[in-house]
Every structure is written in C-alpha cells, then in structure tokens.
Symmetry: C2
C-alpha cells in the first residue's frame, strides 16, 4: 500500500492534542525511557545502519559522507546521553509570557503553548532523527521527520525504538513519526500540508532550504546557510584579528558559523594581510582576493570573482576584500551576506556601534569569533537549528522557538 503522508500528519495532529496537555514529568519520563531503550536495543539500530552503509558503499558514497552515516555503539550511547540533557532543560510550556488586567476587568494572559505538529526535513546524519524528535516532544509537539534516503533504515530503527518508549509510557506513538517514503513527491506534499503541519524546518544545505522556501505553503523557518564575514577595522588589534579570523575560518570549516569572507580596512591592509595569510597557511587556506589584496599578497592569493563574495565555501577557502571605511564594509556585508553571523574587530567605539546597528544579520559580533553562534554557546541548551530569517526566530533556536503563544482571557460577562 502506498504511504499516505496526509494520514500520517492527521495522526500526528491528533496525537499532538494529547501531547499539549502532558505535564513536564510525563514528558521527561518519556524522554528517559527513550534514552534507556536506545542503549538497551542499540543492536537493532546498528543492524539497520549496516544495511544503509552497505548500500552507501555500493553506490560509491564518499568516505567522509560514509563516516557521517556511520553509527557505532559509542555514538548511539552519546545520542542517548544527549536525550538526558533535554530532560534537564526547563519546560517552556505554560510560561505566562505576559499578564495584565484591562480597564473593564478582563484578565489577559499570553501563555506559551505547543506549536502542534512540527515537520523537519533533513539530510544524511541519522542522529538528527533523535535530536529533533526529543526536542519537539519536550516542547509538547508531535513531529514528522523526513530524513534522507541514504539513512532510511537507521532513521526508521531509531523512530521505532522511540515509539516503543512512547507506548511504554502510555503516550501515542504517532507523536514521533518517520516519513516512510523518501521520494521527492512525498516531500513536496509534506510542504503543502496546510492545516496539519504548523511549521516546517529544513535542516541541511542551501539546495534543500531553497526547495522548501519555493515549494512550501506551510510556514517555513529558514535555517543554516552562513556566508559569515569578519571585518578588520583600521583601529583593530591585529594579533586579535588574526586569531579571530584563523579560528572562525579553520576551527570547523564545514559548519554554518564558519567565516567565509574577510574585509580589511585599507589603512591596515598592508600590515595585516601578510600576517593573516601566514597564519591561514598553516591550514592551507586559499585566499581569493580583490585586486588590492592580490597586489599585497602577490601569488599567495588568487583573484576573487564576483560570485566568490556570495559563496558559502564550507572549506579551507576565504574570500577577501580591501575596503575604505566601516560604511563600505557594512554595505558589502548587507549585500552579500546570508544574514547569519558577522564580526568587526576594532578598538573604536564609533565603528563598533555603527557596525552592530547597521549590519542586518542574526548575530553581530564585536571582537569575538563568529563560531560562537550556537544554541549551546548562547546558553539555550540544545538547538534545532539557526534561523537566518526574521520571522518568529532569529539566530539559534532552542526549545522556546519550537513553541507558540496563545491569549487566554478571563471575564465575568464582559461584552463590547
């Protein structure tokens, strides 16, 4: 029988109504059961993962990707242990965000409530299946998970164990569901489940996110692409600037908060670029520079194209441009950035204030690495992604960002 995503979403919606009424203790008990069963029955996940891996090898998947797909007993234990971290997070549901009484005696409260049904579309790493599901559960919502087909058996094994835990705790197993058909058609249908899916969160590369933005009719939260900039001001401490650029570019180049572009004030370009290049050369970073950069660095840089300034390399490559002022840096960033994270290195208060006020991105840094844009680093606990849009959530999204609010108004017969 063909997989019916509408039926799955309807079941999720029904289950979500039960979930919205759960106490914190009931949710935490379920999370604890999930963690326990993942460890106890890790074998079933390892067996499923072996099928995915065999398939991946047969299809000639690059070894780096194979490693992302690989689960070991230790990795599963790590995932199970991170579920227990979610138990410790404060439950946002039921928080009174605001409360007041109006002139005519109405008691108005704005209360944090569950979203309902959350859809997540993600790519290869199977750990996302568990990470996302448990955050949604703690936030009181049902989740519909659509993972990549390379990890299908692993994802399904994880979901079955989580469902077993839900049932043990007397909760509907439809709270956590895997979309069991990984075709593009079903993904497109999922994006149009208005009335059933309250929000769709894509986690993955630029292509996946674009596809969701273009096709979805349900509300989408864009996440994750980061063409992050570091601007070295005329007044910068150049050693600090070298450290920040090196850290932001090379500590983990494949993630969205890594720096992709370097802007340098003309007054310090001659002094800064050679020492920065020398440090970056330790990790063989390729510098794609503007004409002035190339003039200063000679053949230690290659000429940048226009497209390079708009690119998220996710690699040991950085674009570089010499600018004449903080205003020019701001204009460049607001033109080319994806709105994720940007940094100014400066000693000048005016430059810092101007930069933080005018740069239109989720996170704007003064004298610190862009690599800090992360739910854990910002103190949100676990994170479901980093929003680069302006509606609902901007920057790292934790439990709170997976919820909504409603007004509850109590009266004694007021009419208008």
């Amino acid at each position: 029988m063909a997989y019916d995503i509408t039926a799955a979403a309807l079941a999720a919606k029904q289950a979500s109504q039960a979930a919205s009424l759960l106490s914190t203790k009931e949710k935490n008990d379920a999370l604890t059961a999930i963690s326990r069963i993942l460890v106890q029955q890790a074998d079933s996940v390892l067996e499923a993962n072996a099928i995915d891996l065999a398939q991946a090898k047969e299809n000639g998947m690059p070894t780096v990707m194979q490693d992302r797909l690989l689960l070991t007993r230790e990795r599963i234990e790590g995932i199970a242990s991170s579920v227990l971290d979610v138990v410790k997070l404060e439950d946002p549901i039921g928080q009174v965000v605001e409360g007041y009484r109006t002139e005519n005696g109405l008691n108005i409260q704005r209360i944090r409530v569950p979203m309902g049904v959350i859809g997540i579309i993600f790519e290869s790493r199977p750990n996302v299946t568990v990470d996302a599901a448990v955050l949604c559960l703690k936030a009181g919502s049902a989740v519909l998970l659509r993972g990549g087909k390379e990890a299908f058996h692993s994802n399904l094994a994880f979901v079955r164990l989580m469902q077993q835990a839900l049932e043990e705790c007397g909760l509907p197993k439809e709270l956590i569901q895997l979309v069991e058909d990984t075709s593009r058609e079903t993904a497109t249908k999922m994006m149009k489940l208005n009335g059933l899916l309250d929000v769709l969160i894509p986690r993955g590369g630029a292509g996946l996110i674009r596809s969701c933005v273009e096709n979805a009719t349900v509300p989408v939260i864009e996440t994750g692409t980061g063409n992050c900039h570091i601007y070295v001001d005329a007044s910068a401490d150049l050693d600090m600037a070298v450290n920040i650029v090196f850290n932001a570019k090379t500590s983990r180049p494949s993630v969205c908060n890594a720096a992709e572009s370097l802007l340098v004030h003309r007054d310090v370009a001659q002094a800064f670029l050679p020492i920065c290049q020398k440090k970056l050369a330790e990790k063989n970073v390729e510098i794609r520079g503007c004409e002035e950069t190339c003039k200063i660095l000679g053949d230690l840089a290659v000429p940048a194209t226009e497209e390079d300034y708009g690119k998220e390399f996710l690699d040991y490559i950085i674009s570089c441009k010499v600018v004449g002022s903080v205003e020019e840096a701001i204009r460049h960033i607001n033109r080319y950035s994806t709105g994720h994270s940007e940094c100014i290195v400066t000693k000048d208060l005016d430059s810092a204030d101007q930069f933080t006020a005018a740069v239109d991105s989720a996170a704007v840094y003064v004298n610190a690495s862009t690599r800090f844009t992360d739910g854990g680093e910002f103190g949100l606990g676990a994170e479901i992604g980093i929003s680069t849009q302006k509606l609902h959530a901007r920057g790292p999204m934790g439990l709170k960002e997976l919820t909504t609010v409603k007004y509850v108004i109590r009266g004694n017969g007021q009419i208008r």
Copy 2:
C-alpha cells in the same frame, strides 16, 4: 514605461537601511508632519477619491462597498488624528529583550530591531494605506503597499502626501511606496521578492489570504479570517450566555472577531436555545442548527449543512449545534475553527481550565465576548491585523509584532 516592482522593492530596501537608524524623535516628527499634511492637503485626496467613486458607480459597485471607499473631510481628519495616536506609542526599536554574560566573558544582548521591508496587500478601504504605512514607519521599516484597484487614486493621493512629509523631514520617500500596478501578475511577483521583502501581510478576505499562502515564497503572516465559536456549558449563567452570544454575533457582524457558531451543552439546550433565539431575533439573525437545535426551535431555525460549520458568515447568520460535553465542544472547535477566537460560558472551573488548555486558537475566552480580540482592546495601541497562525505573532499584532530581534555579542578576542 512598465511599473517595475523589483526596482521599487530595491529602493525600499535601501531606504529601510536608513530608517533602521532613525531615532524615535525623527520618526515621530515625520508622523506629525504626515498628520499635518493630510489635513492641510485633504483636497487632493478628496479629488482622487471622487475619481475612484465615479468609477465605482459606473461599475455598479454595491452601495455598502461604495461607503467603504468614500472619504470625506471628516474621515480624513479622523485618519490624520489616528496618526498622532501612533506618535504616542512606545517605540519598540532598541529594546533589549534579553541580556546576559557567558562563562567565557561574552556579553550577549538580544535587541529589538526593524524588520526591514514589509509588504502589505489589502482590499478596498483606503484608510488602511495610512494606518499601515505609519505603523511600519514607527517600527523602523519601509513599506510596500498594494491596495485594491477600486481605491487606486485615493491610495496614491495618500501615499504622495505621506512621501511629501517624509521629504520635508529629510527622509527618503521610498520608505512609503504604493505598488502602482494593481494587476494580479504584479501582486504575484510581489509575493516572490525573496531577499527584498522580509514579510508579507495580507489584510482582507479569505480569498486574498489563501492566494498569498499558496503563491508567496517570502514569509507570510496569515491574518484575519475568524470562524469564532461560543460554547455554552451545562453550568453557564444563561442570561450571561445570551448577552455574550448577542454581542459577539450582532454588535458588528462583518468583522473577524464576530461569533459565527454556537455550541450548546445538551443539558441546557432546551432552556437556553429559545431565549437566545428570541434575543437574536431582535436583529433578525438566522440560526442554522443541527437536528436537535431544529427540534427545539421548530421553524425558528433552518437545518445546517456540514459546510455551515466551517463558514465565516460575516452576516446575521449563526450556525448552532448541541453537544454532549465540553470535550465534544473542544473537538468540534479544533476541527472547524480558523484558530481566531473562541469562548466558553461556564461557572465550572474544570470546564474553563479544560477549554482554555485544549482549544487551539489565538484567543480563548472564559465568560467574555470574542469581540474583544483587538489590538486596542488588548492594550497594544494600533493594530496591523490579527494573526491566526502560530509563527512569530498570534492574535492582535501591534508595533512589536512588526519588528524582529538580533543578537549583538561583545567580546575581547574570544575564540572557540
């Protein structure tokens, strides 16, 4: 030359960067100038409005609609005076929503900042042109207004006066722009201005909202359709219930917070329905009832169809159903409601708690009319619409809901 909406949006985006840096005083001065010029040059709007009205008569527009379109000197003065109310509203921009220091010494602040460029698509009332524009200006954003073609000349006259005021104050006139081509093609293009339009807010009927949800690739906030319910519990004070139903249904049937559906507990149906019908008959309200309702009311009710329960009548019509329990009422509401406003009339604490917890709508009332769902009534000041979705804003949207936040992080060289 053909109107180029992309060029208009680009100009809006550039202007928005200037607007984001304006002080509260600069914005209030511009609002005051707008209010003054609207009164001083009301004639130019009245002339333009006469053209729209002549056209409307020629096209045989119903007189109710013509009245919505009609502007008089008094109405313009009223609009100008409401601009001054916006001057008095607290400026949300620059508010520090949250601020803390991390272990490694980063100072993190989440700061309220302007959205950027806001698109509004609305239908016939020309006053929306001014109301929406001044709220967006106070919120520090540029606005692209796309009104209905019946009000085109009136809208354009309003926008020209507002632009004149902006220029007098030394602000870019592109902060407030009217989409000067009212074709459907241009509206569709507007819905896909990703990277230029930060949010699109449709204000109008169900058809307009559906079209935005289906066609837009920019983030949309759904507003306004309200299939609002009133549930009369077994324990209700029946006189209070009659008052609330009468007020919610008849005080202004054409608005989204008017009641459209009545649910009555079986235990009180026999006592309640006849007195409620009698009161509603004062305004000739048609009751479309379930079988039990019709049995009780005889030919004072007509049989309801399945569709009637899903309908926003916006008229002197109400659907009615007898239910066996508060649970059945909740199930019915969560199935048929548009998620706007619902009310329970009860004396029973458990029923009240159950209803407010489980009904999944923006505003849930205990013993008060649904007509209170309104920015003014809730104390937000002016309102741009009422969100019936769960992302970003839910319920009445004031100035705050027209803004976003960004993280500003200050360090002294921290790397990760």
